[in-house]
Point group: C2
Chain length 524, copies 2
């Protein structure tokens, strides 16, 4: 399949005029053809305007129509066939099996939001019965959620399909009835163009306005700043670095009309090894931990970058088992040069930190990430904020605590996280129960006896957490809950039936769950 | 009942050391005894720390316990008896009947959140069935909403009970399990102290940690800035001016950990007079409009400050009827000197604007607000942004449009609003239907054939809207939906039953609505 290097502005393939760049092949260590042409200010502006103009038509589609659109996007992605997988392999260095799995996940996400639309309760429809005899009379009030408006989505480098052009942010925004202006990640521009063509074909096939989707191609921060600052844009979905996310938060807050930013940024995902679990299963836990740490060369937001445990023979066994398992792994190609270079610097900084001891550290060639495991005392960790920062890649830090109270103090000192893990046996439940309230305040997902890598796409998932894990701890970017990010409530008072949205009309024509005077019902 | 002029820091009455001030009697035009002592930095810090320490205990209470606490707050407010009403009358100039009604609304709000807690679906409990045989296996995932943490609430001047110390923001934060540090409004400090004592007694009676509630007393912006900047505070509820709200948004965004701000700020609440309604009912609409405009001396967030209509004899009849009705009203005491002075300046500016004509303007003494009605052409309105700004008080501006297309252009040019009203007859429905999508993008509540003053406290109410109506258009500050502002999701993966929150355990012990694999059910 031919890749043109063009952006797609409201359905039209356009060559950007603001310079060009090429994708990098991290395995072959060379640039890939063709050149990608970076969008200029006019193209960014037109993409946003077209999205603004498309919004009312797009959100006026029925839920069934939008569900079919999401299904069509998935079909069109599958129709790209192996060309998509092959280009993605070249651009990311990720293996075929991972990318095929991720393509499946991407299509599953699209289908999941379609099912959510068909079920209907996502609208949170509410009706208050009028009370004309009351003093003062209560009016007829009806409430539902509508889309916020056009959404700027920033694709992530580490999920070139599932959190990229047609990933979770795009799928949830489309489901909410919001057009998407997508900033492609410069790390996989060809993959992005192919998927964007699939989305564009779905837009055409479903006879939606062309402004429902645009793809902006380029590098650097210029495009993102212009996009988030554009008056037509009403919300932002982002997955990436803390620096990138907080920069977009600042742009969004400084707008004449500030808008919400959902940036998933930075997390070191503490794993708490409870004493009895360590006593009974230190070696097994160490092996499992090592496998989680190196999965995907550590390039997951939920990578276990921090281990908390009380000093003792159990911890020593864990460290030995983990180090030994890591020693048997091999350095592997990272997603791009920036990530590999940042990882190398992060590991060098840990190794060079006077308070930190090295438990395991593999050698590696340029562009590759090698596992590394360090240890530090809780006393030092509590004093050195630099040790709380994410090192994106297969590195982790064991924080050795004096006792349970100090472990709680360390949890209390952490910033917001996506996940926390408790490795525990039944004898540990009392102490784990004491940790839980602290963990609930810090993280979006708490796991028992597993590892945080692997994020289920489902109804009950939370892939979110207090700042800086995300910009907005009230949200999740994975699972059906992600749609809530792009919705806001509107109430209609005494509006005639003819003018009410279908889901709020008398008789409940869609047969959906609604709240009548507060009580959930499918009744008329 | 004796008023001490003291703050309440986690249950303890304390005299602030940062200066003092007195309440103003806007009717008697004199200062009231006693002096109120302003809190110092240490007191603000302690109130926030105590709130942070109280959070885990408070949120671990059962929903029934928190519901009883809210009921107890209402009981304690009623037990203040007439002393509360009398002090509020003195401090606000509002009449007895209004304040007694507002006390009833305040207690009703507290009870409403209690019922919401007892019903249980506010937790949004979700359970995904594990699929151990799948590749990869799906874990056991359970999800619910928890409180965000201590909330800083800023009391409003215009609802000295219903949006003040124990008003909607406080009630919804308590319901969510969040301690409240309340910044009293300096316009009714004695009323605030009395209600704060009622809340404090309820905290004691329900044996909750004292840090669940503190009252900060003072004037100016110092206290608010310190409060919103305090690391223990996790969200902000505010009702007041655009300047005040945006200043707090800036503080919240600049924190090391940014936090959400729910500021209800500024709205001119357009009333669209559709042609056939004007043709048939111009006089009746004009009278109704005038009554809504002067209600509470125009000191409502939903006051109809803008009228949009197409030029013609119907509009002339409306203007005449409204002007005549306004001419029969009398200037009345406004809430405080700042509001009266700002109103006077705002009306003077409108009257002095070269593009604006005066339809009605009453004379008034100092401290009083007199109704005023102005007109301007849509062409001028579209060019002069100063005419889009709120004038808080009984003044409104009629924007005369050439045709329906220009009326749509005016709606399109408006900033975010709390409400929009359509005065329409059935023959207007087609054109109203064309306006609806524009209005939905701009406002939180759309009314037909009524007036926006009067905000029902119920399940389907939205008292919110896009910026600058509020800081966060995804929220409502009135009705049960207000609790969502202070909640965030947490997911538990494979957590043992013993450690799960009750509402997520097997067997559904509370018998509440939950989502099992996406489907709502009360089943086990």
């Amino acid at each position: 399949m031919n890749i043109s290097g063009e952006a797609i502005i409201g359905g039209a393939h356009e060559r950007g005029t603001a310079g060009s760049f090429k994708a990098w092949d991290p395995t072959g260590r060379d640039y890939l053809e063709p050149s990608f042409h970076m969008v200029d200010a006019d193209q960014i502006d037109r993409a946003c305007r077209l999205a603004g103009e498309a919004f009312d038509v797009f959100r006026a589609t029925t839920d069934e129509q939008r569900a079919r659109f999401l299904d069509t996007v998935a079909e069109q992605i599958m129709q790209l066939g192996d060309a998509l997988i092959e280009r993605a392999m070249l651009e990311t260095g990720l293996p075929r099996v991972r990318l095929e799995g991720e393509r499946g996940r991407t299509c599953k996400q699209l289908a999941m939001f379609g099912e959510l639309l068909r079920e209907g309760s996502w609208r949170d429809a509410r009706l208050d019965t009028p009370l004309p005899e009351r003093t003062p009379p209560r009016p007829d009030l009806r409430y539902h959620l509508i889309g916020v408006g056009p959404v700027a989505v920033f694709a992530a480098s580490n999920f070139p399909l599932a959190f990229s052009v047609a990933g979770g942010d795009t799928a949830s925004a489309f489901a909410a009835g919001c057009p998407v202006v997508l900033k492609a990640h410069s790390s996989h521009p060809g993959t992005s163009e192919l998927v964007a063509r699939a989305v564009t074909r779905a837009v055409q096939q479903c006879e939606l306005p062309a402004g429902v989707f645009s793809l902006l191609t380029g590098t650097g921060s210029r495009i993102g700043q212009a996009l988030v600052g554009h008056p037509a844009i009403q919300a932002v979905g982002f997955t990436g670095s803390r620096g990138g996310g907080t920069a977009l938060m600042a742009v969004a807050a400084a707008r004449k009309q500030p808008i919400p930013v959902y940036a998933e940024m930075s997390s070191i995902n503490p794993v708490c090894l409870m004493p009895h679990a360590l006593e009974h299963r230190a070696e097994e836990i160490g092996k499992g931990f090592a496998a989680s740490l190196v999965l995907g060369v550590g390039q997951f937001c939920t990578n276990p970058g921090l281990v908390l445990a009380i000093d003792g023979p159990g911890l020593a066994t864990f460290c030995k088992a983990a180090s030994s398992a890591l020693g048997a792994t091999e350095a592997a190609v990272m997603l791009n040069q920036n990530i590999a270079e940042s990882y190398r610097k992060g590991v060098d900084a840990l190794a060079g930190n006077a308070a930190v001891g090295t438990l395991a550290r593999l050698g590696h060639d340029e562009g590759r990430g090698a596992a590394a495991l360090f240890r530090v005392s809780a006393d030092e960790f509590l004093q050195r904020h630099e040790l709380h920062e994410e090192v994106f890649g297969p590195a982790s830090l064991v924080v050795v605590c004096r006792d349970a109270a100090q472990m709680r103090a360390v949890v209390d000192a952490l910033e917001g996280q996506l996940t926390a893990t408790l490795q525990m046996d039944p004898e540990d439940y009392a102490e784990a129960g004491a940790l839980l309230p602290l963990l609930e305040r810090k993280v979006g997902r708490i796991l028992a006896n597993g590892f945080p890598t692997g994020v289920e796409v489902s109804t009950a998932m939370v892939h979110g957490g207090p700042f800086p894990a995300t910009a907005d701890g009230r949200s999740t970017s994975v699972g059906t809950g992600a749609i809530a990010r792009f919705l806001r409530p509107v109430c209609y008072q005494n509006l005639p039936q003819e003018l009410l949205p279908e889901q709020l009309r008398d008789g409940n024509p869609g047969g959906i769950w609604r709240r009548r005077d507060g009580a959930l019902t499918k009744a008329h």
